[in-house]
Symmetry: D2
Subunit: 485 residues, 4 copies
Amino acid sequence: MGSTVIRNGTIVTADLTYEADLLIEGGRIAAIGKGLAGDETLDATGCYVMPGGIDPHTHLEMPFMGTHSTDDFGSGTRAALAGGTTMVVDFALPSPGQSLLDALKVWHNKSGQAACDYSYHMAITWWDRQVFDEMEAVVRDHGITTFKHFMAYKGALMVNDDELFASFRRCAELGAIPMVHAENGDVVAELQAKLLAEGNTGPEAHAYSRPSSVEGEATNRAIMIADMAGVPLYVVHVSCEEAHEAIRRAKMNGKRVWGEPLIQHLILDEGEYAHPDWDHAARRVMSPPFRDKKHQDSLWAGLASGTLSVVATDHCAFTTEQKRNGVGDFTKIPNGTGGLEDRMPLLWTHGVNTGRITMNEFVAVTSTNSAKILGCYPKKGAILVGADADIVVWDPQKEKAITASMQASAIDYNVFEGQRVKGLPRYVLSRGHVSLRDGALDAHEGHGAFVARESQGPVNRALSSWKALTAPRPVERSGIPASGV
Amino acid sequence: MGSTVIRNGTIVTADLTYEADLLIEGGRIAAIGKGLAGDETLDATGCYVMPGGIDPHTHLEMPFMGTHSTDDFGSGTRAALAGGTTMVVDFALPSPGQSLLDALKVWHNKSGQAACDYSYHMAITWWDRQVFDEMEAVVRDHGITTFKHFMAYKGALMVNDDELFASFRRCAELGAIPMVHAENGDVVAELQAKLLAEGNTGPEAHAYSRPSSVEGEATNRAIMIADMAGVPLYVVHVSCEEAHEAIRRAKMNGKRVWGEPLIQHLILDEGEYAHPDWDHAARRVMSPPFRDKKHQDSLWAGLASGTLSVVATDHCAFTTEQKRNGVGDFTKIPNGTGGLEDRMPLLWTHGVNTGRITMNEFVAVTSTNSAKILGCYPKKGAILVGADADIVVWDPQKEKAITASMQASAIDYNVFEGQRVKGLPRYVLSRGHVSLRDGALDAHEGHGAFVARESQGPVNRALSSWKALTAPRPVERSGIPASGV
Amino acid sequence: MGSTVIRNGTIVTADLTYEADLLIEGGRIAAIGKGLAGDETLDATGCYVMPGGIDPHTHLEMPFMGTHSTDDFGSGTRAALAGGTTMVVDFALPSPGQSLLDALKVWHNKSGQAACDYSYHMAITWWDRQVFDEMEAVVRDHGITTFKHFMAYKGALMVNDDELFASFRRCAELGAIPMVHAENGDVVAELQAKLLAEGNTGPEAHAYSRPSSVEGEATNRAIMIADMAGVPLYVVHVSCEEAHEAIRRAKMNGKRVWGEPLIQHLILDEGEYAHPDWDHAARRVMSPPFRDKKHQDSLWAGLASGTLSVVATDHCAFTTEQKRNGVGDFTKIPNGTGGLEDRMPLLWTHGVNTGRITMNEFVAVTSTNSAKILGCYPKKGAILVGADADIVVWDPQKEKAITASMQASAIDYNVFEGQRVKGLPRYVLSRGHVSLRDGALDAHEGHGAFVARESQGPVNRALSSWKALTAPRPVERSGIPASGV
Amino acid sequence: MGSTVIRNGTIVTADLTYEADLLIEGGRIAAIGKGLAGDETLDATGCYVMPGGIDPHTHLEMPFMGTHSTDDFGSGTRAALAGGTTMVVDFALPSPGQSLLDALKVWHNKSGQAACDYSYHMAITWWDRQVFDEMEAVVRDHGITTFKHFMAYKGALMVNDDELFASFRRCAELGAIPMVHAENGDVVAELQAKLLAEGNTGPEAHAYSRPSSVEGEATNRAIMIADMAGVPLYVVHVSCEEAHEAIRRAKMNGKRVWGEPLIQHLILDEGEYAHPDWDHAARRVMSPPFRDKKHQDSLWAGLASGTLSVVATDHCAFTTEQKRNGVGDFTKIPNGTGGLEDRMPLLWTHGVNTGRITMNEFVAVTSTNSAKILGCYPKKGAILVGADADIVVWDPQKEKAITASMQASAIDYNVFEGQRVKGLPRYVLSRGHVSLRDGALDAHEGHGAFVARESQGPVNRALSSWKALTAPRPVERSGIPASGV
Ligand SMILES: [Zn+2]
Ligand SMILES: [Zn+2]
Ligand SMILES: [Zn+2]
Ligand SMILES: [Zn+2]
Ligand SMILES: [Zn+2]
Ligand SMILES: [Zn+2]
Ligand SMILES: [Zn+2]
Ligand SMILES: [Zn+2]
């Protein structure tokens, strides 16, 4: 690969906006400045040159009820690149009883198809001494520094409060970060049973079974447990004001919590489930479900004010065929929607074009903040000399209507069908390779590489110091017991 | 028993303050007016004539680790009467697997000693079809309309979220009210183990193991579950801002929740556990533990503003001897303190004398609100013709220093030792019987009667209507599935 | 007037629901019990017998821009009685420079027409030594114990922060209660000018000029000033979450604040101003304007939880003709809507019938709480022997559609036109006089009497004690200045 | 000036921590990398190399009651450099009626003495057309893009709400940022008079006259006015939870507000005013006054969570002699304390060493965030090639006790006297000049240069877009008025 220069663009990072060219050599940024030259020149006139997007939350080829989510590391990363995203972080999901290291091998096998870089979070789906021990190897030997916990999916992935506490404490020791899918699984299961018994079997009942207060409660609980364990917390797919309120309340008490809204929850609302077409509604079944406008306003305010940190997709794409598994019983509809290709154009359109967030905030929440929190900054998420050349050249004038017929994803529909976006990638580079060029993908299966990440980030270390300083200490007593009143 | 007249006093109720005499016949208030006459006359000159106190939360002769709390229905109700309280509500605690109705018999046996009236809450300490069925009999046949749930005491009394949900729904059906002891039992157990392992074995570690955030979390969770189950909730011993905040947040969303602070948490703070004398600290071990001043301010504000509803004691008195069971291991110190005799004088001194609450609010939170919430108003908690003559004639000038050496309780110390109070009962009448007369008790074992209570109170009924009106409904669809995008 | 008995009804008060008959003699309740007899018998079978409504906020025959609000004490009190309200509290409004006592005379002249009882609040529209002095006479000689302050209407009624502070302190000394119309008048004036300049001249611009945040700010400010002055505060027409939040925040810190939502804000929303018909929109112009649903939910939750205390109307009725004064300039549309006749049926329909509030809470917020806060309980707002026989016999099965064509109010429209209500008065008694009988008014001009009220209520006294106890005290110092570092 | 290299240090920025050398040429950073060489070498072994501190809030040689604050641009900037601060932003204060441009000249005359770089905020102390017009020149011609407004100091600097609104709107038009000193000046004046009248004349009464609720109220009000005017807001010296709460509440609704706590409020508490030595207390008189620990915790949490943005000093140093002007009348004690030399060591000691904030957050709040918000990033506040070489080489092992006897400030005491700090500058460079070398100052009067700043920052632009998008629009109507009901 020769050198590449991106010319005449305006560089936009999480902190800065300035005019400069970029020189790329060996897959990295080699120089930033005016008048640079290289073997190939990409014209960025009228464009913003930004760090490629990082989607911190995807489920590619995720096993589910004997099948898998349809977008695998091949089609999923193609969709990512098509929309300006150059790195995804997927979830390695051990089965109950399965070794974490075995699960990791399974995921490494799948990810061979990836056309852009990727990393994994490791899920803690069960608990015993083996898991405790393997967590160290996962962090130290594999550079996987984030552990996901499901507070829902009772009887499957769900872990209880004592397991959460034990795993969170282990994360604290290892300088790792626990993540939670925060919904009260006991209550969801009870509501599902009650709804089915009452004849609420359609996809709208999926939303009825997972009200925002159920998410808010679990978020609040996970925050308390993380605080007791002395570790920062990352809350995935924050969809509602109640969860966001719990996060704000934690922060106002000095706790360290990050919240991740999804592009779906920012744009779509619960009205989708009232659609008379069953397929329409079922395709939008995901957990948490879409919420009403009040919640959307809350999420947008969180992005602007910094109480929420990153925007993800939870991309987990099932075909209409797969969704129909749940006809007559909403609990059998596979949970998940797509979004990898659309995340950045939608956020730009609804966020930057309206003035709800600045361009710099756009870069922060689509890329830089993920890299910082997850421990791979400035290799990723940065326009700095030495950083990986994961870059998107963004054309703010380019427009389209989103449609399944043109998407890279392998499924047969798109939950944003028909929405117009303004602001789309002109070029997308993955470690220097021009993977998208004016709408045409040139994505190579296997081009993507695994990104090992750093543990013991500054927030972990600071919090550990503070917890050590304020730890309980025994009261000095002379005789025990001593009399007195 | 002949008639009694209380003369020349000022009647103070939850809403009114006015001068009138009271005529008592047959254990009830027969007339309220000026210039009444009867067989016996009690002079209330300079005094306030108020409904006798109701303590909604006691544990008399409660079984614990092979022994029992030392104050039984005899000494406990004597202590109550000595301090102006004329009714206590105790907790019937079935062992795991024990029939609710059997537990009720056990409690009825103990309460034969009572010198003032009493009722019970029934605890739900396990869950299956039998419990579900017996709850109906408990409510309908026995007039016990409140069900207590422990979210702490893991491995003993604790019930899980699915059991809470099931029991709360059952309460909703029966028009009963669920109550919770709100602390996250999983986390408490983990913290206890961690503290012991670190050498934190003293009574102060009891407080370390139950931080306010652990209480706040459980309160928040119980509120959510009650809301999902469609039933009001009563949170016992609210000791901290976090729990109070959860209650306020619920109310601000239209939820129906009552909070009960204890007199101990209003007056005493966590500094007690730092006392160099082990006995001093151990005697104050209760759950939740005492908190710092910030929390006290929150509780007082709650009483004045109505976000907290009643003041109780959780009276559960163990001797120093019993407390010493936990030397070397704080988890073995029996949990509980006394307070029955001191609740009203302390609340008057710190509340009414300072202006933090009005006299009417004093009556509300010590008596009337409990009667209303628990379903025995205006038989109890009222100065109305026809109401039981449970009356306290309160002398606002009478003073003393609290001391164990003079108390009615059977234990050997008092956690309020040395505190001065101003405002004490001159007379206390239990269904017309003058049980306290200028400091001298005339309390008869067995005088007390069981008070059956009403279910389906107005708040239960209103909430059920609202929940029915807003219940989830299926979306109408023509064909399922139907195509569409 | 002979005696009257109300038979076979269910008495509903702010605390209690029970079956009893009422005997009325000499305009007062003479007996409550079973099987009572009197000269006249009113059948209350199937009905609730409740204290007559008290509307704490009306403007009858209020001077405005050279005209007056069209409903005067005659038609206004007829409307009140027609809807179950038996007492109104109007605002005496001195002109700038006018003696408070002179204004009082003017109001007494107008109120001669009243068909039900009434009282006044006194407005403080200017400030100097004379006002300071006359406030004492107003309280002590006239039994007017509440003083209204306008934080809006710049250049007319508005007073500034230093005047608020001075007047609030005077209230504290007198044991009186300050009230505020809370909107930032400076900002409203600026927004009005800006909107007119931009061509926003229609009635919808009235709403644009008074956003909820402008009300929230002023509420927050008034609360702080009252706290500094050491006096409780009554906030009229709380219409939005921001104002309600400020009140809740105050209460959570132990401050004493009452909030009064209007029936209009509970039922109607801002969509009314978008109506294509100018008259429709202009008729709904009032301050604060109608808000969106989020605010309505907040107000309803406040009524259920007690953070809001009473429901009023701010009845200030202008004809369409008068409203048209503001064609082409929304600032000239007279502010005000009607509601006196509809307040109770609407609150019952939307509150009690849905389960949002209980029947007892209905009585509290329509009647009893006003009487308590304003200092005329239990003369008013109570079903007690000796209380004034201001009574409504409420038929929960009676239905109608609201229509201007049938109303007692003198104006030509009704902002609730077409709304169906279920729950209406069968009889309404004003001091024993049957003023409404099955829909037929028998209201006598001049029957209404002025109600003098009590100052130094229990909340005022408690707060004064607390403020004295916690007042700033000088630090003891030996020499001043003394050296040191 | 030849080239300088800083060798063997660890570079710490607001985002990143990494090992590299720095090459400085011509007062700017010329290169960042390993193994750099230059004319002079500074050894940074064991040190952190950070952007020099920016103090966004100082008052050097500020006129006051016929005298001036004692630290002028000479001694003040020497103190700054001694503590690692390389830029100060002072306040140009026009007298009422004085041209803004004239005031600017006065300030430029004073600042000739500066030994480090500086900028100004312009105060709006009065309002008319001239001020409106000159604001444009101030922004466009002079690069002063921030306008300060005093909501306190009634009769002197205070402006009213209508003036705030007008000035804030002007800021919106100009892409400038309004700042507020937020205390309710009317209420402070009333409380001052009341306290003096009651004999509260000592310095502690200064604190009594400015309670936290008075600051919270004004903060809340300024936020509302800025929102109505459509402009971001910067709140100086946020000292208390109430003000912080108002800021958080604004952010949670998507508003753009920055809060600036002072190092004094983070470290010192109200107990200082109870000191028996008058001088001790008077030296600590500043507005807002010190608060209790609850408020300190709130401020620290704000720094960690990002709801507060920068740490300043409000350095305004008066000698003991000057303070004694207020003997017998606390309102005559000049308001202000020092802190320029101590801000960074204290924040490091209490923040980084304890783990309350990370090193990167330390850089953000002491330097980078100010540069971004105020419009001079990355010229200032950055370690980037091309940035000004304003650099501090920080030795985390260096310790001292703070003492007036060793300070650069010209006054005779230090409010932090005796406090131990760990973490101090080894070298401080101002545009490449080594101004501090191992504790020895080499600060040249006049070396400092004025920094012009950029208006129309990204947050201003985004907010303007959003406000335009959501601006009120007239309702379309056919005929006005049209009939209808
Ligand atoms: Zn999930
Ligand atoms: Zn997921
Ligand atoms: Zn308990
Ligand atoms: Zn208990
Ligand atoms: Zn008004
Ligand atoms: Zn009004
Ligand atoms: Zn200031
Ligand atoms: Zn200042």
